[in-house]
Amino acid sequence: MKTTARIVVPIILVLAISLLLQGHNLPGGGFIAGVLTTVAFALIYVAQGLDYLDSGVLGQEVESGAGVFEHRSVTAFRQTFMVGLAVAVASGFAALLFDEPFLTQTFVIVEHLPLYHELEFASALAFDVGVYMVVVGVLLTILSVVGAE
């Protein structure tokens, strides 16, 4: 189980990120990438427990005995979805700076790049990142709170 997680989790995460970035043009997007990322983390929990991220990956001390809400990674999850909401709203307000209605999106296509030939930058990506962060944050919060019971 632990070995499987070790191998599969990075693959899932890479897949999730690629789904997020290509979401505008190919199947994918913030929602899908978000739930996939959650699955990757969920796998870590099932295999290693809630403390693994802190102790195993980041090498930090974990206070034992504290409630689930004081747990560092749970706090981080809650912050993630708050930040995600903020990003989504901010990307909406950005349009106001250009005298467009709230949440208006636009895009630019940059051509003549090495390797890619052309690359599209859509402002919607910022919003999608917000969506992604909210989904990840929310689902992981739910999962960790429920899992800690």
Binding site: N25, L26, P27, G29, F31, G34, V35, I109, V135, V138, L139, I142, V145, V146, E149
Partner: protein, 113 residues
């Protein structure tokens, strides 16, 4: 064949409703879950269900060019958010169930007053 699709949606709605009326709170949550699946299938069928081909997928080939007749992308967008939201609400309902069990020490909704 829309009758077949209608039968499936109708059947899922009926089964979901039956679950909602049970005394076991977990089953009530299942009922909510089944109903949301049924609603999603219903929404998709409103977009016109066709056998999937390359063209009907609402992802275009490239920038520019002719736009093929795809299935309705709007219902898909609706259902996509509905899936994520129904996960959130199902999880909430489950936690609520769990807390209700802790407070009332029973899973029987008939015994709550």
């Amino acid at each position: 064949m829309s009758v077949a699709l209608a039968t499936v949606v109708g059947g899922l709605f009926a089964l979901g409703t039956f679950l909602l009326l049970r005394r076991d709170l977990v089953r009530v949550v299942w009922g909510v879950s089944v109903l949301s699946q049924a609603a999603n299938v219903y929404l998709i069928s409103m977009g016109g269900v066709q056998p999937g081909t390359h063209d009907t997928v609402p992802v275009l080939d490239a920038h520019g060019g002719a736009v093929p007749e795809t299935t309705d992308p709007l219902v898909q967008a609706l259902v996509l958010t509905a899936i994520v939201i129904s996960f959130g609400t199902t999880a909430f309902a489950l936690v609520l169930t769990y807390r209700a069990y802790q407070e009332n020490e029973t899973m029987d909704v008939q015994e709550w007053r």
